[in-house]
């Protein structure tokens, strides 16, 4: 019994010590530039956040090896928000108040970015989000930028492709999370604008494992094309269920599945699926004279060598965020948050993995539709079909 009590007491003691250690906040160093980052390295969005986190560490090391920025080394403090909005807010508070960072990279997902956006403008620190929702930059929040191309461009690429193929009726199947919601909104808005007709609007849950019910309903509406908007593993299930039900209608996916994992999960059911994607995942097929060629091949080679896994578009966002920030600091000639913010708005012609960034006071994303190419899955690999 005594032992147990001692254990209890020691647990409390440990907690107290942790408290004390925790309370000692680090001093601000003069010869480094402290940058904060918040990524969803665990939780439902970990497949986005983990490559982002890895990439940011790698990119910062690379910049430091090449002499740093303004002669100073970059020092990045990365927090994991576990894809949880409360944790994300706490992480931002901590970065701003304890770590005294000059800029924040991330967060990974749109919801978390929108949640911290009002806070970041109160702290007067620029933030470069890796999430895709348009709401992040429209209306423009002076302190918030993003490197992921907006869903609108991906949706437009898909719909134009359907239109060009002679389709008229479109069915959409979207996931019920922030990503799917954002895609669903632009699809519903753009389908009539492009001159198509929406005949079915179905939803599936992020953890659902069978979508035959939704697909059966879609089949009943006999569309000319089905657009599925989600991230793994849902779309892989959709692809498999489509084959199971013998649906021959062309299936379009969003850029959210643009990683090799999707082909692996969907297996032969992935054949013939069309999707818009950044040039990063088809780096080899990008024309040699395309401005993005050197960036995408360099990043891919570095990432695959260091982490031993295939690159994804999402990791690329981390790369773009770091280089965008580095360029802004250089242009500003200062590591003052306000100066960095002002410089970020003036970055033009920066070639990243997602496209060429041309920022302005009105456009805090700086990308356009050319960020995407249409890709078809053939023989278990990506194939560019329209650039």
């Amino acid at each position: 019994m005594t032992i147990r009590r001692i254990l209890v007491a020691s647990v409390f003691l440990c907690a107290a010590v942790a408290c004390a250690a925790f309370a000692a906040s680090p001093a601000r160093a003069g010869d480094t530039i402290r940058v904060g980052a918040i990524f969803s390295a665990t939780g439902p969005a970990s497949f986005l956040g983990e490559p982002e986190k890895n990439t940011v560490q790698m990119a910062v090391e690379r910049i430091n090896e090449q002499g740093g920025v303004l002669g100073k080394k970059l020092e990045v403090v990365i927090y994991d928000d576990e894809t949880d909005v409360n944790k994300c807010v706490l992480a931002l508070d901590k970065l701003a108040r304890m770590e005294h960072v000059v800029a924040v990279l991330g967060p990974t997902v749109s919801g978390n970015t929108l949640a911290v956006a009002p806070k970041i403008s109160r702290y007067h620190i620029p933030m470069i989000s890796c999430a895709s929702s348009e709401k992040i930059v429209t209306p423009v929040n002076p302190w918030v930028f993003k490197v992921a191309p907006s869903d609108r461009y991906a949706a437009l690429r898909i719909l134009e492709h359907i239109k060009a193929a002679g389709g008229g009726k479109v069915a959409i199947l979207t996931v019920s999370n922030g990503y799917g919601q954002s895609g669903r909104a632009v699809l519903k808005e753009q389908v009539p604008t492009v001159g198509l007709e929406l005949v079915a609007d179905e939803i599936y849950g992020p953890t659902d494992t069978d979508m035959t019910a939704q697909l059966t309903k879609i089949k009943g509406a006999s569309p000319d094309a089905i657009v599925c908007w989600g991230t793994n593993p849902g779309p892989a299930v959709v692809a498999r269920n489509r084959v199971q039900l013998g649906i021959a209608t062309p299936l379009y996916m969003s850029h959210g599945v643009a990683s090799k994992k999707f082909i692996e999960l969907a297996g032969t059911a992935a054949e013939g699926i069309l999707l818009p994607a950044g040039r990063l995942i088809v780096a080899d097929q990008v024309a040699a004279d395309h401005p993005q060629k050197p960036v995408v091949t360099t990043y891919r080679d570095l990432y695959e060598k260091r982490f031993g896994s295939a690159v994804s578009t999402f990791g690329g966002h981390g790369w773009d965020a770091v280089y965008l920030l580095a360029k802004a600091i250089e242009q500003a000639g200062s590591d003052d948050p306000k100066a960095i913010r002002d410089a970020l708005e003036k970055v033009t012609g920066l070639v990243g993995t997602a496209g060429t960034f041309n920022m302005s006071a009105k456009d805090h994303n700086g990308l356009d539709q050319s960020a995407f190419v249409m890709i078809r899955i053939e023989n278990g690999d990506w194939k560019i079909i329209g650039d």
Partner: protein, 293 residues
């Protein structure tokens, strides 16, 4: 709405329902022996799938052996959990044990994430992926495997609980531990065995479901929830009720998606479940008078 579509909804519902039912079966076994709702039950299903993928891809075992090894490994985990976290609780109350099992499920999920990563994995189907056509609807061979194995498990469980001394001894523990102990039943051993048996059923479920649902470290949460709901729907403590509850829940969701709205399919299923609970407080197949467990 044509007949083929309705049949397809039914098949879809039964497939999803089987996943709930198999999880619910595991809940029932532990509940029947100990009165505990084991919130780590979903993790057994996850482990069954993940171990299968692991043994197949990493150690290169052929599929049947990989599944067998996965089941054995999960049963060992089940035994370990009972020994290390359930048995040492002194004077357990229900709510404490529930929290222990929640803690255990968090630990298992965390370990699985560290060991296998955060990716989703696919397991090949047992006998091909060519869909079978049936009255205008389609069904995968794996669906037949799932329904068949579920039925076999159910029949075996029925024989076990009703026909063997060991099974009846386990049942006795749930009715009255003290009386069971006095009549010479080793209660602790029964509890241990119930965890192993339920890990067995969970992992078999996980392995046969993985070709359809795929496997990832976080698969257990939702299955645990739905499995619990299926248990209650069928009436706690009744293995047939649990399996049937799972199937009904799956079919409700599928028809909800087909006829109401796919966005509200889960809400639809749970609304019906709530309505049913309010009218029949002891579930569809439960004994009347649900008292504090």
């Amino acid at each position: 709405m044509d007949f083929a579509s309705i049949l397809q909804y039914l098949i879809s519902g039964l497939t999803v329902g089987a996943t709930y039912g198999l999880t619910a079966l595991g809940f029932t076994i532990i509940y029947n022996t100990t009165g505990i709702i084991n919130f780590a039950q979903g993790e057994f299903v996850m482990l069954g799938g993940m171990f299968s993928v692991f043994f197949l891809n990493v150690t290169g075992l052929p599929l049947p052996l990989a599944v067998a090894a996965a089941v054995a490994a999960t049963v060992a985990v089940g035994a370990f959990i009972e020994r290390c976290t359930i048995r040492p609780v002194k004077h357990p109350t229900l709510i404490q044990l529930i929290i222990v099992t929640i803690g255990v499920s968090i630990v298992i999920r965390g370990l699985a994430m560290l060991v296998w990563g955060k990716d989703t994995f696919a397991l090949p189907a047992f006998t091909g992926e060519t869909p079978l056509r049936f009255l205008g609807a389609t069904i995968l061979p794996q669906n037949l495997w799932i329904l068949g194995i579920t039925l076999v498990l159910l029949a075996a469980l029925k024989r076990f609980f009703a026909g063997t001394m060991f099974g009846r001894a386990m049942l006795a523990c749930s009715h009255n531990k003290k009386a069971a102990y006095l009549s010479g039943i080793d209660v602790q051993r029964m509890v241990l065995f119930s965890f192993m048996l339920s890990a067995f059923i969970g992992s078999v479920g996980g392995a046969i479901l993985a070709p359809i649902t795929m496997a990832s470290y976080d698969r257990g949460i939702l299955l645990g929830l739905k499995g619990f709901a299926a248990c209650i729907l069928g009436g706690l403590g009744n293995p047939f009720g649990a399996a049937a509850g799972g199937l009904i829940l799956g079919v409700l969701e599928s028809f909800g998606a087909g006829f109401v709205s796919s966005a509200y399919k889960d809400a639809f299923a749970f609304l019906i479940l709530l309505g049913l609970l309010f009218v029949r407080p002891s579930g569809l197949f439960g004994k009347s008078a649900a008292t504090r467990a």
